[in-house]
Point group: none
Chain length 216, copies 4
């Protein structure tokens, strides 16, 4: 692999700073986490977006959250077809092996993936329709959600509706996994839907009773 | 979705703490990141493991890293078959839309996914061999790497070798994506392989010249 | 300009080292910064002193800080008189064109400019009082601050008090610029005062509540 | 000063990293720099631009460069009128008090200040012509240089010519300071003109013999 390069020096410096402070002050805890394994209370599924770090928003301690991040925080439906399903693997591991107590889906404003999906579904992004578009095929998971928000007036409003729909579609798909449905039904697991506005720093949660998102 | 629950109160409290401090002190920057979009310098592919947060290790500022996290930081080879490839979608978005300058694969010690893969490949985990095991099928990506480390003496040593192999397999698979190979060749993208030891807090990088991992 | 000389060779060598390493490893990022323009999150006003490099203390990534350095990190009050105000031009550009989120004034110990100001104000440096002294006239900005610390006992203590006063005077003068006051009031800009001790490597910040500098 | 805020936490963390590594490893040297004062070999006048850090390009050691940074690395002509001249104060201090051996003016590509000057001089930026524009009045220093490059064909080429002219104008203005002319003439000080291309990472120097910039 002649192409691989060493760590860029600005990151090397920062790593050394982390090692000399955070790590050194918490050495015993890191040692223990390594020896005894992780025991996270919650799994969070959020977006890759560089502006939304769940570890920051929820002040995550090391060892606390099992975090899967993908484009637009999507979960596909249960499909045990023997093919590679990276996201399904993460929830299977979190629920059956780590037995997390909470499974949180965190959506966000200004989501590039969701915006791409809206363009695609409304016929404005033929390149995403192509078989070879990984982003397009991934966003297909959200296609069923588009129908439900198509009528919303105002492009901004429609986009926000689709971002929140992405959270709901993921929650619904999560319930199609037998091991999740079972854990939810016997009370060992709870599912949560959240959406955060990057610019406002606000947070909304999905309220089942009203079937809508409310400010926390 | 009657099953969805509000945010657990311990997280609500922490979010409020974040909003009253970090967000409030940096409001203008969040507002701007929302309005002008993200411009991350690097993409990091790391594990979901709750003990390895790249944002902490590299003191990531909001807006700096585009982060994909999956089981065992794996990237499958390029397969434009029209099916859902969540991981491939993340690298496509990072490289072609965001045009990140660095793509970093970060592996780690005590990786549950890699340990499962070793059990599976050595015939000790028949449940992972089943068609319905999402984790097993996902870890298939690492199978070709197992052959190369099978001979390593000592279980701990073999495990570490396979953890590092996971980084190399991902780097090799990344280069099978035409848009990545092109960006690497014309110098607009560089690939980096890293491995961190949770207990020691140490960091190693893949050195192409020697074809092995060296301490930073 | 017959007088101009080529780059001294010790610097040439270092530039070549930088180009072969840092630049080459980060080529794509530099290319992009050139093409897309800078988007610094913060402006820092610090001293020219060769012992205080803000880029080092805060591990600044390229593109992150807009930096103005002058004698004693001073900012004069708002004076739109049509004359040349180099420092006022830097803050105008940072706040109105670049729209930085933070404006940080960083003072430091052992400041030659501040020591000169103290000598001048206490009548021990007549040469600085002369009309032709650029340093003297520049340090006039800090004269109003001298009255407030004149009573402090002990020369070292008085000097430190004046160094910190230089930070406060600059912060107060910054607020006399209409575009800064407006940005602060509508929450898009925050001002910060810091003072670092060169020998101790310590850092203090101005705490508004107590109207004094506290260790970070 | 109710408006002043504490240090943003992302910078606090980085400072702590610097203190635990760079500072701690070099404590004795910092202690000595504090006790004995600075003795920089060179002064560098460069731009505030966040993409051009002279400390990085020339691998500056602590204590080595006395650095003045302003918009477009400009030096006004000698004007001992008793008014505030921040830039003149920096060169006076560097040459008469610190007795630096080199005085380097470093210009750069993609300079926002120079671009503004070109717009202003060609009549396309009336807002910069206003008496109240600090940036406009500051860029007046470069006005005499505009005439010399006005004829250059191609906007990009003209811009680059003006960026390099900014270096030359500053060098010429430096020589109008009696203490600089004297130091240059008796061989204790040398002046140097440089220009760097951000995207290419290249460096050119002003060659007196040919009266033009050549690659180093």
């Amino acid at each position: 692999m002649k192409f691989a390069k060493p760590l860029p020096s600005y990151l090397l410096q920062r790593y050394q700073g982390w090692h000399a402070t955070t790590y050194t002050e918490n050495k015993a805890w890191y040692r223990r986490l390594a020896d005894e394994g992780q025991r996270p209370r919650a799994m969070v599924i959020s977006c890759c977006d560089s502006r939304v770090h769940v570890t920051s928003i929820f002040g995550a301690d090391t060892g606390e959250f099992f975090i899967h991040r993908n484009i637009a925080n999507l979960v596909p439906p249960y499909e045990p077809d023997g093919l590679q399903h990276g996201t399904s693997a993460t929830v299977e591991y979190a629920v059956t092996a780590l037995k997390v107590a909470h499974l949180i889906v965190l959506g966000h404003s200004n989501c590039g993936g969701v915006a791409g999906c809206m363009s695609m579904c409304s016929g404005h992004a033929p390149e995403l329709d192509e078989k070879t578009s990984f982003v397009g095929r991934w966003m297909d998971i959200l296609r069923p959600g588009y129908a439900a928000i198509e009528h919303v007036e105002g492009e901004q409003e429609r986009l926000r509706a689709l971002e929140k729909k992405a959270v709901c579609v993921s929650l619904e798909n999560l319930m199609t996994f037998p091991f999740i449905e079972e854990a939810v039904n016997n009370g060992t697991l709870s599912l949560h839907g959240l959406w955060t506005d990057i610019g406002e720093g606000s947070l909304e949660y999905y309220e089942a009773k009203d079937d809508k998102f409310l400010p926390v």
